[in-house]
Each structure stands twice: as C-alpha cells, then as structure tokens.
Symmetry: D2
Subunit: 351 residues, 4 copies
C-alpha cells in the first residue's frame, strides 16, 4: 500500500528492457548517441513541432536549468505559493539562476489564474533597478494540489503573463497525468497554450531517472548546453537516459502508464469518499488524492503498512477547516499501483 510518492515505484518493464538493450556495444556519449537522437525525434513527433530537447537526470535540474535560461540573476520568477520549485527544491532555482528570486503568488486554491497575476502586478514596484522585474511565470502541470490546468486556463495565464513580458516555464513532473486527464494532445497544454519551456518528467511515471527540458522557442535554448555541462548534468553514458526516454515515449507508453495511475487515483478517491469520517478535499483530477482523514484512521492505515505523507495544512483549500482529530494527507498512485492495494487501503480505512 504505497501511496507515498510516484517516485517510490521503480521503472516500467518497457523502460527497463530498453536500458538493458542499450547496453549492447560501445556508443558515443555526452548526448551524441543514437538513443538520444531517436528520443528527440519522438519528442518532436509527440509535440507535433520542432523543438530543442535536453535530457537531465532529475526534475530539480530540469526546472532550475530551464529557469536559468529565462531569468537574469536580478529578475523575478513568479509561481504558485505551493510550487515545488519554491518549496521542495531547496534553493536550487537561486543556485542555477545566479540569484534570481522566486515569488509565490496566489493562495490556497491550488491553481494560478490571470487574476493572481494582475493582483501581483498591481502592487509590484517598478522602480528599476531598485525593485526587481518579473521575467518568468512558472506553472506546474499537474499542479502541486493535484489539479489540472485546461488548455484554456494555460492560454489565459500565458496571455496575461506575456502582456507583462514574462516567459512561461512549465514544471511538468506529472505532465503525462494531465494530458491523460484532459484527453488533449501534448501540444494543446504546452506550446499551443503559450508555454515557452517545458520540464517534462519521466521519472515519476516509469523511468529510472530521466527528465527532458523542451524549448519550443529555440532561441531561448542557446545557453542550455553550457549550463547543463557546468552543473554536472551532462551524462557521459547518455545512451542510458536516451534509451529510457525513447522507450517511455514509444507507442504512447508514457500515456498508458499515466492513465493507469490516474485510474487508480479515481478508484481510491471513490473508495475513500464512502468511508465515514473521510473528507476528500480536492477534486481527483490526475494521480493524487488529497483528503482529511481522522487521525485514528491514518494511524490504523500506517499500522497496516500503508505509506502516505501528511500534507502541509497551509495547502488545505480555504473552504475546509481541519479538526484537531484530523490529518491532511496526500495519496499518490503510480503506474504500479494495484487494485488490491486500493481495496486494502479502503478496507483498512473503513476499520
């Protein structure tokens, strides 16, 4: 019963097989191998556009490297208050950008909106260079509160942002889950909606360690190879990351993995909703369920071997008030979650 994080699952069979297969023979490295080349071609096909693609081993590297290509050290990066880049990546964005500042805007509603941007700019100081100028908007798809931005919502956000000369970066650690949830094309929620740079994560969804930064505006990509190299994120045996990415993209494998995870989350939410004392706190749109559990229930579940995180109370939707006897929890499903795990979890929860 592991609902702790989708990065506690291993790799999918297909991805692992590709890694093993890639081990045959010698190959050039540092991104010049044929696996990387084929994976890049697949990305162009998948997103139905020309793009620059750069593979890196972690999501923190993908996010920070992409932000560092968009913001000068004296500029600001706007993001949601709950954003992973703001809360869970130490001060990596500052490190990679050379000191640009993250500004968390918005509140407890789980997604950014043009109104939040307008509110920010209404009060933002404009006495440059004393004040700092916002240069980037970072959006997380799927959001940290498990919510999915529709193509229209992203378009509205990016239009509001571009009015203020911002570039749009998307943290797509769970991008696949959003695409599946929306039944849209990858292009619909990225470049067609105004996203300039996407950190597309495979690690949480079936890879061993593989993320890719996609530049839809290729002019923005000039510095990437230098920034990746000097941060130690250019792998010498790059075939192994290329192979992961190729297998992950091939024949819609990535979307099938995400679909399974999303379905599991739906099942889990449905199951829990009927448990007395449990309150589902957010719509379950992708592969995460957020809810309030009686503390006793949470304890019983943990005693039975279930893994999940308590979630910061600041992230609770404003319409909810937590009781002393409750815990706010996040339950994440993955490509490996089984029906049995879900059933057992709900059964233990019911007590």
């Amino acid at each position: 019963m592991n609902f702790g994080s989708d990065n506690q699952a291993g790799a999918s069979e297909q991805v692992m097989k590709a890694v093993v297969a890639a081990n045959a023979g010698n190959a050039h490295g540092y991104g010049t191998d044929p696996w990387t080349e084929r994976a890049t071609a697949l990305l162009r096909e998948t997103f139905a556009c020309d793009l620059e693609a750069f593979f890196v081993p972690t999501g923190t590297a993908a996010n920070s490297l992409s932000l560092s290509c968009l913001a000068q050290p004296w500029e600001l990066i706007l993001c949601h208050n709950h954003a992973h880049v703001l809360n869970d990546e130490a001060t990596a964005p500052e490190f990679f950008t050379g000191g640009a500042r993250l500004i968390g805007i918005s509140g407890q509603d789980g997604k950014l909106s043009p109104a939040h941007l307008r509110e920010y700019f209404r009060f933002a100081g404009k006495e440059y260079p004393h004040n700092s100028r916002a240069a980037v908007l970072s959006i997380t798809q799927t959001s940290e509160d498990g919510l999915v931005y529709t193509p229209d919502e992203i378009t509205a956000l990016s239009q509001a942002a571009k009015k203020e000369q911002l570039k749009i970066q998307m943290d797509g650690a769970r991008f696949a889950n959003a695409v599946v949830a929306l039944k849209c094309s990858p292009a619909d929620v990225s470049w067609k909606a105004g996203v300039d740079v996407l950190s597309l994560g495979a690690t949480k969804n079936g890879a061993l360690a593989a993320e890719v930064v996609l530049f839809f505006d290729k002019k923005l990509a000039d510095q990437f190879v230098h920034r990746r190299k000097r941060s130690g994120h250019l792998l010498s045996k790059s075939r192994f990351i290329g192979a992961q990415m190729e297998a992950w993209l091939q024949d819609g494998h990535w979307l099938k993995l995400a679909a399974h995870a999303n379905d599991c989350a739906s099942q889990l939410a449905k199951g829990l909703a009927s448990v007395s004392g449990v309150r589902i706190a957010r719509p379950t749109e992708a592969n995460e369920v957020f809810g309030l559990l009686p503390t006793k229930t949470a304890e019983r579940l943990r005693a039975a071997g279930a893994e999940f995180y308590e979630w910061p109370i600041v992230a609770l939707p404003p319409e909810f008030t937590i009781a002393n006897s409750e815990a706010y929890v996040r339950l994440v499903t993955s490509f490996r979650t089984t029906a049995e795990e879900i059933e057992k979890f709900c059964s233990v929860a019911r007590g």
Copy 2:
C-alpha cells in the same frame, strides 16, 4: 576498435543485473533506500575505515561538490595543469564553489610533486584579502596523462600540502585502475596517504552513471547534503544508483573490471611499441596508452573503424618533439576491450 574513452563502453553484466533486480517493488528514495545503505557499508569495508558516502550521477558533480565543501568562494584550488577539473568540466568548479579559483601548477611531466607545490608557494602572494589563499590540493588518480601516484608520492604531496593548510581532494575517475596497478589497498592511496575527500568513479569502469564522494574526514561533510540537493544531484529513485554501486563493489568486481582494462592497455602498448614509426610517449601504468603515431597510420586506423582521440600537444612529455607528420594520441581501454580489438588495431597500425 573503440579506444576513444572508457565511458563509451556500457555497463558490466553484474552491474546491469543489479539495476534490473533493484526494480522489484517500491522503495523509499532520496538516498534512504537499502541499496544505498548496503553500498555505503561496502565502501566502509572496502576502505577499511569509517567514512561518509554520497552518491551522484556524474564525475563533474562529484568533483565540484567535493571541492565546494573544501574551498570558500575567495580561496584557491591547486591542481595539475592537465587536470580534468581544470580543462574538461567547463567552469563547474567555479559554479559549485561560488567562485573559487583553480590554479594549474606544474608542467608537462604528468604528475604533481611536492616541488611543484613549493614552487607555487614561493611566489604566491600572501597579502590577504587582496591575494587569495590556496585552500585545496586536487590530485587525479590515475592522472590525466595515464600515470599512477604511488602511496609514497601521495603521502609526500599531502604532507607538503598540509604544511600550507590545504585539504586534499582526489579525482578518482580512474581510481580503480590505479589500485590495481599499484597492487595496494584502496586505503593506501586515499586516507592513509592523507586524502581528505575522494571522488570515486564507477561510470568509466562498468557502471551506467554512478559516482560517490567519500569523506574520510567526516567533519568536512556537513554541507554536502545541502549542496547536492540544491544542485539537482539527489536522485529520487536513488535505489538505482545504490544498486550499481553495490554490485560494482561486491566481491572485488570493480577491481576485476579495472584489471582487465589495465591488462588490455599493456597489451596494446606492447603491440604498438613494435610498430615502426610509433613512439610510446608515456609509461602505460593503468588503462591508457599515450603515443605518437605517424599521421598516415592514424588515418589508416580511423579508416578501419578505430576510435581514439588526438591529445593536446601541450600534454606531450617535454623530452618528446612532435613532427609535422605525427599525431599525439590517447588510447583508452575498458572492461569491455577485447584481445581481438587490440590485435586488429596493431595489425592495421603495422600496415
């Protein structure tokens, strides 16, 4: 006939099997998995001492992260003129240290000596803070010119360095090859010889992407977890790097891999030495052969499919003078090099 680099070989069977096996079930991440724990225990056993071990995916990260724990941004890091950290890792050391400066000392002889250090300190400005103080000595074992430092040589170097309050970091991308060549214990050429921090590389010697930073002086390790996280080098699915390292160390696997590579290099050097017109330029102490080939020979080899790099002429030993019709080349063997490759290479070289 791949003698381009040992990082063009893939992973060893044993390492790859371990990665596949590690894929079973769920596991905690971010370095808290049992593979990481077991690999750390093996490292303590292998080095016959207590130590702190931190896994990262690349050698550039391992070197730069370790240096950043030893040098303040206003301090200097001494290394050999040919050092990989100085020449082949972009400005990664500066990035990770926040601006410390590398100083390449010594000349074309391929290894550092206490005399080089004394020469440096004889002329080094000491008007702090106007001048910058040297804080670290970085040694590469096996050296970039294919030479191996004996335990006595490292001890002499580290003693000379410690007289000046330097910490000793070792770039051990090919540490295994040196241990095999010296028939000594890993401890003999690391902490027993005065090394404070070792970047031990598995990638060039049979892993997919696995390096480990070993702190023999544990007090120096305080900042590492923070620096690794904010540089994006803490892997979420850390079991896969732990598993590589465990398999690599188990039953002396790493030394067997290195021994094979070293033997191949000896064979290759011996074979080439008898080819008319070829001049071997450095003693072949580990898994690299440096030599002068007639340009025509080099061309014929490449036409036959051989891979190898021309090497910077600045790195030529001082007693050699290159002719217009010659190329200075580096030939690297790996755990995968075959006797057939070597024979064919020599045969084509003979013309």
Copy 3:
C-alpha cells in the same frame, strides 16, 4: 521643500570638514589608516562593548555583506514584508549570499512580532534538505513604515528567533533616529536586545557615503574582510570613510542630526494633521510621516516644488482604506530640514 528622502540632503558641516581635514598628507589605505582606527574605537565606546567594525560605502553593501556572513546559500532569511532588503535592493542579498532566500513575513502592521515568527515556523517545511531552513531574522530599525522597535520588542523578537537557532541582523539605515526616539542607549536596541550584527547607516543622516557593519558576536565576522574585498567594497583611500564616521560619532553629532530630523517630522505631522482632508496613517515615531493626502493637495504641493514619494498601497495600515481621490505618501525629514520648509509645506497643503 524636500521630503523625498533623507539621502537627498548632503553631508553635515562637521562631517564634511572632517573629510577635508583628512586630506592632509599621505596615509595607508584599505582600512589600515588612523581615521578608521579612531572611528572603530568610537564605535566600541558608543556601543559600550567590544565589537568588530567594517566600513563600506553603501547600505545595500552593509546589509548584504552582513547577511552573507550569517546565512548559507541554501538557507532562508526572514524579514518583514516591507523590508528594504526585500523590496529595494534588487537581488543584492541573493548575490552576496550566493543564493539564500528572503522570506517576507507579516503583513501591513509595519513591525515584526514574535507571533509572526511563530506563525512562520508553524507552517515551515522541515524536510531538509528538500525544504530550506531559516537561519537569519533581519529587522529594520527604524522600520520601513517609520515605526520604532522598543528594546523590549527587539528582545522578544530575538528570543523567539533564537529559539529557532536564527541569527539576528539589524538594518540600521535609520538606527540613529530610533535611538533618539527611544531615548535609550545604542546598546539597548542592539546587542543588549539580542542583535548579532548591525548595519549602521550614516549616509541618510549626514554622511557622504559611509555605513558600518558591527559584529557584536565577533566569531561571526571571520569572513567579512574576504567578502568585502571580493565585492569591491574595500576602499583604497579608506581614510575618507573613516573620517566621516569619526566626525559623525564624535560628541554625539549623529544623535543631534537625528534629533533634528525627528523633531521636524513631528512638526510636519502635527501641521498636516490639522489640514482638512489629510489623514496621518502611522504614528510619527522617527523622521518619517506617512499619510493620505487628497490627490489635489498632492498635486498642488508638487506644483509648488515639494518633493515626496507616493508609497505602495500594500503598505497602508489595515485599518485604512484609500479613496480614489487620495494618494498614500511618505514624507521624510533630514538633519537639514528647515522650519520654513515645513511651514510652507503645511501652508500649501492647506490651500
């Protein structure tokens, strides 16, 4: 009628005379001159304690350099939402600290309180190294909203902060004004109240360009000389900054200058309070008056040559609501403000 900023006034006669006098003869530089030595002795006397003192030419340098000695690049610096270090010094703190992050806490009430700190720590993530740890509390005395922290208030704040292992830095750009307002000793609102490092500003209060960073905990000062030098803030002809500081401190000159400015602000506030349509928004505790003026009044004043800044509406105290026909303004008095300026300003305001 200049109420724009106290840094639009020049230097006091006494300070300027000292600069001219210091020009006689040759002198060693880089902080080794006798003026610097004497000024340091005066600082120790003034603060009634041993301390380390470092002179720099700007307040941004003083604040950022002091913060950089207290926070690691992966740590957080807590400050008020309205703090100058957060809003008006570009991303200087990030630059000097190598990427530490400022967190603006509290709201519109103009001063920090232990409750704000508790609120922050209640919700702060503690999963290191994923989350970042707060390491410093920065307090501004006089606050950016013109309010003065009493010794008890600072003591309470620093105690709450130290419970969380924070160091206390004080931005004392208008420290003199606070000391005068409180009729306390400099020690009472600095080290005796728990402040570890004080950026004491002379520039806004009668110097040409002179600030000093005071370390009451001398162990924290180790890195300062290096950080000052490499940021270009070590003046070669250091006698001229030492001379400013010496003259400024001598015979309580700095407090007399501040007392004049404070008295002027009181007069101005009193005068304006009686003007119909004007609403004084903050208590006038030091040398700044914050108020709501009818837009027409503001325009008339500007037309008559008055200088002052409109102030961000976010900084308005919560109990006030601004009307469309109003402007929120800040009026700053200085050691040079004259009774005539104040009278004329009030007279024009009355219309």
Copy 4:
C-alpha cells in the same frame, strides 16, 4: 618619502573643493543628479564620442562589473599573468561574473602581444561545452609592470582578439598616466584602438573614491545598472562621486595630475640609475619605477622613513637575475610627490 602607492596620496585640491561645493542644497541621488550628468558630458567630450558612463567607488568594482557584462559564467577572460584583476582583487571577477575564469597568459615581459594570444589559441581546447571558450581580453593601461601600450600595440592586440570573437576590456586604473606618456588623445588608446569597455580610474590620480566604466559599444551596457545596483555600488548621494569626476576632468586637470606623477617618476629613475648598486629593471614610462636595490640600501631607505613595496620576483624581467643581496622593488609617484621627496630618497640611497 611615500612611494608605496598612488592611492596613499589624498585628493587634489580641485577635486576636494568640488566635493565641498557639491554639498550645497538637496539633490536627487542614485545617479540622477546634475553633477553626474555634467561629468558624463565631459567624458563624452574627453573621449570624443558617444558613450555610456557608470560611476562606482572602487577599481575592483569597475573592473569586475565591466567584465561581468562581457563574459558569461562559463566563459574565459584572458589577461596578463601579472594583471591586477588576476592577482590583487581576490576572486572579485569570479564573484561578479558568476564564475567566469581568468586565464593569465604571457610571461615576464610586462605587456601582452598578439603572439601571446596566438600561442593561447593554438593550444586552447575547443570541445564546447567541455572546454570553456575565451570571451574577453583584459588589458591594463598602464600595465602592472609600469609599461605603456601604444595605440598601435592596442590596435594589434584588439585585432588579434577580435579575430577570436573576444571583447576588449581595459583596466585603466592608471590610464591618465599612459595618455600623458603617449602624448595621444584618450580616444587613441581606447575606442579608436578597439577597446570596448574602459574602467577609467580617478582614485589613484587625485580623487577620493571615483571610478567610471565607459562603454564605447553601448549595446554592451544593458545589464550594467542592474549589476551595479545588486552589488551595492550605486551610491545614494551620487552627487559626490559625480562632483569628483567633473572636477577631475575639467580643464585637463586629470592629465596635469598624471603629468606631475610621470615627471616625478622620471626624475626618480634618473636619480636612482646613478646610484651604485641600483639596477633599474623596467623602462620608466609612466609613474612607476621598478628596480633592484641592494637589500642594505632598501633597509636604509626604510629606516629613513621611505615607503615602497617589494615586488614579486616572478615579475622580474627575464633578462634580470636577482642576487641574494638584492630586493626587487616598485616605487610609485603621485600627483602629490615632491622634488624634495625624490631628492631625499636618492640621497639616502646613495648612502
């Protein structure tokens, strides 16, 4: 008898008077004052071209800020082995550029030449991003060995550099002395000779603390205001730096000051040349004399109150060999040096 450094002299009468005069009345700050404006106009006139000018208080700031506008953090800055930016400014260039690397080229001959550049590029690695690309050439005028680059020499250097896509920065801490020595116009040894950015120093030549960065290629200046602000080098009471610069430039005052210093150096060199046992080691082209003194002579001079620095033996011209009984010294004259000082120095030297 102060020959320690020209920054041990104070300020010229004319400059000090201007500072005092600038103290009258209120003035806008942060570079928006009329003194700054007039000084900028004078600079345009002096250099006979349009240019962008930015005032800062120190030479280290001027050099590092200008370099940071020309080199990316992953690029290299070439300079002479003896360059002040390399040896005497801590790691300020690394700090301001975010980690670009300085490469000292050339040897003991005291000036750079196109041959040195060609030698560098002959051996420079070009495997980007593994190797780092040179982006800037920094030249010091007057050089650290007291030598002056002629317009033709600078032109030849900048042409060789531009062939490699380098930008040219000039450290002009003693630019005035060179202009006087060459009897040329300021334009002849700056933009007309290919210099893109000049750090023009007034501090060593009669100012209190005033340097200016001149961008002849205005497109390169975009980031300067941001970089200056976030490094704390934008002075609030900017009139005082503007006033220094205005007075310094007016009516050729700067060149008169430099001419006096240069004449004194000539006198000193001439006087010393005739002292038995003294060997003048460099041509005295500007305001510095480099020579070998018998140790006893040096001691006698110091005992008589003379101030001067021993100079690093690495900087000795190759045709000289220092004896055990000799000291290599640098003697600097300034606008304040008197004939009496020189006579007395020579007289004591003669014994």
